[in-house]
């Protein structure tokens, strides 16, 4: 049974851009603690984002993909997941990773160019970021198939951008997921832009949720700047997956307020006016305004939260910067489970040259 089949209508939304509740809220949204957790995670994500960019600008971090303006997609979907579900992210889901327990230090390590950033101490089965766009979608099918074969009530959540929906890997994965009815949820983080190419040049389809139809799976659109809506629709899709009702494709409509990465200059292809038009929709202020209107949030709480997030992020950055790079031997040691003879020779030569202990 498909929960929602409206692949072309207006995105599902509970809180509008002026922070007014326009529909009956899902149960969790009546729980103040839950709302504050969502808000806190988005603020922490944005704080991390700003620090990552400043570290990159000062030569202490590699090229970084900002999630500015898209925090509700990652945080909302992660809040809907159970800890033993598996996340297969693209490379802009810092919010989801933080919510699921990837540490800020691990994120800094990853973006700072250290493989240990992918050795998550928390969500041990979550996949690392997928940089070749959309090529992780079939992995999600395999992970979800594993759950089904073992009769586990777990699900895989795969996130990719609007550009990825043009890829063959995604088409193959959606098709297979539909045929096998695996417990997977695919979330399209539609931020409007694949580097310099807008969605209108990416597809002639009216929406990206429509891509679900040909795969025989449910598809729906959600306001990706309404964290309550994102969490709600992903939770429903996960419940359907766990019931054996098969996969869902969710198009979360948001906007990339940043450049594509720190190596990009969006002013080459995108009007500032367009970006300015989207700022009033951004998700963090929307939830904050809603919390304030609801009497849940105050200036004092806001200041305390910003201070706490800043402190955590600064400490994580210091921890990252204090971490010595991996020894050169490490790149050899993890190429195979056991070291082939010819690779051992290369390892010895390299470590001698680098003056490291073999």
């Amino acid at each position: 049974m498909m929960a929602v089949v409206d692949t072309i209508g207006a995105p599902k939304r509970f809180i509008d851009a002026s922070a007014v509740a326009i529909a009956t809220l899902p149960d969790f949204a009546n729980d103040t603690t839950e709302l504050i957790m969502l808000y806190r995670a988005m603020v922490l994500t944005r704080t991390f984002d700003a620090k990552a960019i400043s570290l990159q600008r000062t030569g202490r971090l590699g090229t970084y993909a900002s999630s500015l303006g898209q925090e509700a997609v990652g945080v909302g979907l992660a809040a809907a997941m159970r800890s033993d579900d598996v996340l297969l992210p693209s490379f802009r889901e810092h919010g989801a990773q933080i919510y699921r327990g990837v540490t800020l230090k691990e994120l800094f390590l990853y973006w700072g160019g250290d493989e240990r950033g992918n050795d998550f101490a928390g969500p041990r089965e979550d996949f690392p970021n997928c940089v070749p766009v959309g090529s992780h979608a079939p992995h999600a099918v395999g992970v979800a198939l594993a759950f089904r074969l073992r009769s586990e009530k777990r699900a895989a959540v795969c996130v990719f951008g609007d550009g990825a929906t043009s890829k063959g890997d995604v088409a193959e994965a959606l098709n297979m997921a539909g045929v096998w009815k695996v417990p997977a949820v695919f979330v399209v983080n539609n931020n409007g832009w694949a580097i310099s190419v807008p969605v209108a040049k990416q597809t002639a389809a009216a929406t990206l949720a429509q891509k679900a139809a040909a795969s025989g799976m449910a598809g729906l659109r959600v306001d990706g700047n309404d964290v309550i809506a994102v969490r709600h629709v992903v939770a429903e899709a996960l419940a359907a997956a766990r019931r054996g009702d098969g996969p869902t494709l969710i198009e979360a409509v948001t906007y990339r307020l940043s450049d594509h990465t720190t190596a990009d200059d969006a002013s080459r292809y995108r009007d500032d006016a367009e970006v300015s038009r989207h700022w009033p929709d951004e998700p963090v202020a929307r939830l904050r305004n809603y919390l304030v209107k609801s009497g849940i949030w105050t200036r004092e709480k806001e200041d305390a939260l910003l201070h706490e997030c800043g402190r955590q992020v600064e400490q994580a950055a210091l921890d990252f910067l204090a971490t010595s790079p991996l020894p050169l031997t490490a790149i050899f040691d993890q190429t195979y489970a056991s070291m082939p003879a010819d690779l051992a020779e290369q390892r010895d030569e390299a470590t001698r040259r680098a003056g490291e202990d073999p």
Partner: protein
């Protein structure tokens, strides 16, 4: 002990692996009720059902990608690609993901999968069914590349490939699938992956090859023996990781090396073997290293392929040149 051909040996190994280990899953196009287009998976579906022998949609990159997801979750998927000509779309998945999940995650997520595919020409098939892409896979750090050349080695090497904790590309020489039969003990014994097999001892020249070309290499050695040239014949079997020591040891005794492969000459895997012997065994060499390989052309259609692929005469001519070299 029973006498089987190479594709039956593959089938025996799959049966054994599935019986021994519930984590082993077979997936691919037509591998289920049809038993695979070459019958490599014949009977597995009837034995183990659709949850362990999975007919996939027609999507090669997806097959490799799904296998990666299954492997990351602790299964031991054996994915079949019907022909290597269709395996190129899998290279992205194998290179960007299967081969490097271990190193990217510092060992947190690993990828114990096998990608099987028939390889090579000589079966009079339509275009794209006769490729020898082993060097492309062998160039990828983190992958292992195995090519059996006999039923017994197919059985033992495939079992080891399935049990290996890392991704293995297992290329089966299509031309040999039903060419020879030999006794294979279905005892569950694997053969070591990082080991060349010396099939024939000799003192005058070392002929190194793999896959279907072992047939030409062996026949050449027999013919050369009649004219008094004593050739040692080595089946590389596992291209990556390469057992350089066995090849160097042989060349240290023979002083001459002829490498035979069906794939195109330039940047073929023979170049890697030649380079290793040249850099570490130069003083053993009494003659230049010869490579007998496919030409640097597109694999021709079947009416021409027999003249494209190295034959016994080309191997013999190369051996005569290195033996006569002064």
């Amino acid at each position: 002990m029973s006498e089987v051909n190479l594709v039956q040996a593959v089938n025996l190994a799959l049966r054994r692996a599935m019986a021994d280990d519930p984590r082993v899953i077979v997936l691919g196009e037509d591998v289920g009720i049809d038993g695979g287009v070459f019958r490599a998976t014949d009977g597995l579906f009837q034995l183990h059902g659709e949850n362990r022998v999975i007919d996939t949609p027609l999507a090669e990159a997806g097959i490799a990608g799904v296998a990666i997801g299954l492997a990351a979750q602790g299964f031991r998927p054996v994915a079949e690609i019907q022909f290597t000509g269709f395996a190129y779309t899998c290279i992205d998945q194998m290179l960007n993901h299967a081969a490097r999940l271990r190193t990217r995650t510092r060992g947190r997520i690993t990828c114990p999968l096998v990608l099987r595919a028939p390889a090579g020409g000589g079966i009079r098939a339509v275009e794209h069914h006769s490729e020898s892409p082993e060097a492309m896979f062998a160039h990828i750090p983190g992958l292992k590349v195995v090519i059996p050349a006999s039923p017994a080695r197919a059985y033992g090497l495939l079992l080891s490939a399935i049990r290996d904790p890392d991704p293995v590309v297992f290329l089966e020489p299509t031309r040999l699938y039903r060419a020879v039969r030999e006794d294979v003990a279905d005892d569950g014994s694997g053969l070591p992956l990082e080991r060349c097999s010396v099939l024939r001892s000799g003192s005058d020249v070392t002929i190194v090859s793999w896959g279907a070309m072992m047939k030409e290499a062996g026949e050449a050695a027999e013919r050369l023996a009649e004219e008094g040239i004593d050739a040692e014949v080595i089946d590389v079997a596992t291209l990556k990781p390469l057992d350089t020591a066995t090849i160097l040891d042989s060349v240290s005794r023979t002083g001459r090396l002829v490498i035979v492969h069906e794939a195109p000459l330039t940047a073929g895997f023979g170049a890697e073997i030649a380079a290793r012997v040249a850099s570490r065994g130069l003083t053993y060499l009494l003659a230049p290293i010869e490579r007998v390989a496919g030409y640097d052309t597109v694999m021709p259609y079947p009416r021409t392929e027999a003249r494209y692929m190295p034959d016994v005469e080309r191997v013999i001519a190369a051996v005569r040149r290195v033996v006569a070299y002064t």
